[in-house]
Point group: C2
Chain length 95, copies 2
């Protein structure tokens, strides 16, 4: 891979990966996941994990690192959402 | 690239790319972009464009197509948001 391609890859990685952190921080801060789509975050987590493995297989640094770093930001939101869904279904059973 | 890697790449592409369409459809339907972060969508559009070029340079089909198909979904939201911001700043000037 040329240096230009590497540079472009890591710049793109920085731009797209950093886009996911504000949501994660907001979710941690507010613990409010009402507006979050569980299905979307499930599919997205699977996709980002797939991309990380894809980057590893192809020894593609930018693709690997972009997705490995994005994954925790997505999983934090997913984990809070799953907790909220489980808690809500527990409350329903008690009613 | 091995067939397995290709398959993994396109499956990941399908998962992550399809995650962005519900937002685009919702924005088109409601025309409400109040909760959308202009800065995040600007950075994200730049990043996705960068990834598309990166995929093209590396002749990496999954990376190229995932980002080329995602881009319009992002740009639709960005375009509506920019319109809303411009309209709001116009109203402010009139006041």
């Amino acid at each position: 891979m040329s240096d230009t391609a590497q540079w472009l890859g890591y710049t793109s990685a920085l731009l797209t990966t950093s886009s996911f952190f504000p949501q994660a921080l907001k979710t941690i801060r507010t613990n409010n996941t009402e507006a979050i789509s569980l299905r979307m975050y499930l599919l997205f987590s699977l996709g980002v994990s797939g991309w990380a493995i894809y980057g590893l297989i192809n020894q593609d640094g930018p693709v690997f690192w972009a997705n490995v770093v994005t994954l925790p930001a997505i999983l934090v939101v997913l984990e809070r959402k799953v907790r909220a869904v489980v808690a809500a279904s527990g409350r329903k059973r008690e009613e």
